[in-house]
Structure formats: C-alpha cells, structure tokens
C-alpha cells in the first residue's frame, strides 16, 4: 500500500497558557482503511500577477480522495496569493504561508484557482490523489 503521512504541529502563546496541538494522519483513498492515496503531482512555479490560474483543473472525482498542499514561497510579506475553489474565495496565502486541505473536486467547475498579488509569487504545491486517468490527445 502506498503510504502518505501528513503531520502538523501548531503552537501559540496568544492564550494565558501556551497551546500546542499535534496531529498526524495517513492519507487514505476515500472511505477506506485498506488503501492509501497512490498518485501525486508536485510542482514549484512562478505565479505572475494579472490573471487567475487553475492550480488544479478539476475533473469530477467527488467519490475520490485527495489532499492538496500549497505554500507561497515569496519572501516579501506583502505579496499574497488569493485561493478560490469553484469561484468561492477561500482565503489568502501571504509570503511564507501554507495550507493543506482535502480538496473536493465534486464537479467540473470545482477548480482550485490562484491569483498573485503584489508581484510574481513563487508557489510550491503537492496534490496527493487517486483515480486520475490521463486525457488522450
């Protein structure tokens, strides 16, 4: 079985006592404990300003599992990438920020799209998924 493990450690001193949370999960195919996600895409790209780009162009795979990691590697803290899914704004990743979500490609419009602001942003992403078949030319 292919094995992908994602762990997070979150710490904060905003409260009167320090908060620390750690979690780890093995990324499985949808609805199963028997088989892990077995496909992935990994990239590092420049994202120029001016247009919205599909980071992941959705193919309808609502019944499939997927995990998307995305980090803005820009070193200028004023630069940010606006992230949308199916045209719904999710939020902004400023320089140095990352996100990790179970992307739901429930229909053909459910693209993950990103728009650079401030200047050309450098983006690293990894999509762990299942069930993708290449499109014939």
């Amino acid at each position: 079985m292919a094995t992908t493990t994602a762990a997070v450690t979150l710490t904060s001193d905003l409260l009167s006592d320090a908060m620390s949370v750690s979690a780890s999960t093995t990324c499985m195919k949808a609805g199963t404990t028997a088989d892990g996600l077995d496909q992935m895409e990994y990239g590092y790209v420049d994202l120029p300003t001016g247009d919205e780009y599909d980071l992941v162009a959705s193919t309808p795979t609502a019944s499939k599992g997927s995990k998307l990691y995305l980090k803005n590697h820009s070193t200028d803290e004023t630069y940010y990438v606006a992230v949308t899914q199916n045209a719904q704004a999710i939020g902004r990743l400023y320089g140095g920020d990352w996100m990790f979500i179970p992307a739901d490609f429930h229909d053909a419009a459910a693209d993950i799209a990103i728009t650079a602001n401030g200047g050309t942003n450098k983006i690293c992403y990894a999509l762990f998924h299942e069930g993708t078949v290449l499109v014939t030319t």
């Binding site: 979150l10 710490t11 999960t25 902004r92 762990f128």
Partner: protein
C-alpha cells in the same frame, strides 16, 4: 508572541520524493506582526447529517477583520471521531459559504486560510447520523 504551524509530509507514492517540512509563523496581513486573535481551541459534536456552522463570522465575540480590508485568517480543523474511535470510512464535509472544500475522514486534519468575510462561514456536514467530534481553532485579526 507568536503562533506557528509546522507541516511534515512523507510519501512513498513517487520514487525520489523527499518529503515536505515547512513552518509558517501566522502574521497579520502583509506584515511581519504576529496574528493577534483566536477563537481558542474548541470542539463541536455532530450527531446528524446536514450542514451547520462551525464558525459564524458575524457572531465572533471579537469581530474578525475580513479580507476586503486585508486579513490573514487561518483555521485548523480535525475530525477526532468519537470517544477515541476514528472511522476512516465516513467523513465530514468542510465548506465555506456553502461551497464544499473537502471531506475530513476520521483522524484527518486540515489547515486553510479564511477570508473572514461575514458570508464566508465555515460549515461542517457529516456523512451519517453517527456521532462525530470536530476540533478546531481559528486565528484571525481583530477588526
């Protein structure tokens, strides 16, 4: 004062993939000033299907600054199952403003940015009527 989040991903899916290990410090939008507000660490028990708000932006005691005024909110969410038992076969769909973002199966976690706009509430919708508990913490800027 700082809030940090570190992610570590290991995988044997693709030969040669060296993994990912990255840390971010949660800051206010466009600055290196630390983020200053949080909901604190909370849990929400769900016992029936149907989308409900996990975070209702307009109801936060400390009003979140939204992205129209530049903000850098983040939320961590995890499906922790119920009474120590997590089930990878059923999930809870996480949404923003009714748009499904993705499904967290038992034990799964996510971290994502938020607009904190009033309409962009964070919703949760379980697959089944079985009891499941969601833990979460949101970090944001005060309006």
């Amino acid at each position: 004062m700082a809030t940090t989040a570190t992610i570590s991903i290991s995988s044997d899916v693709a030969p040669g993939f060296g993994g990912i290990s990255e840390t971010m410090t949660l800051t206010q939008a466009g600055t290196i000033t630390d983020i200053d507000s949080t909901t604190g660490f909370q849990i929400r028990k769900l016992t029936a299907t149907g989308a409900v708000d996990l975070v209702t932006m307009a109801n936060e005691l400390v009003e979140p600054k939204d992205s129209t005024a530049n903000s850098a909110g983040k939320i961590y969410i995890r499906n922790i199952g119920y009474r120590g038992v997590t089930d990878k076969s059923v999930g809870v769909t996480i949404g923003v403003n009714a748009e499904p973002i993705g499904k967290l199966y038992g034990g799964d976690w996510m971290m994502m940015p938020l607009t904190c706009i009033d309409a962009d509430d964070v919703t949760v919708n379980p697959d089944t009527n079985d009891t499941v508990v969601i833990e979460y913490v949101m970090f944001y800027e005060e309006a």
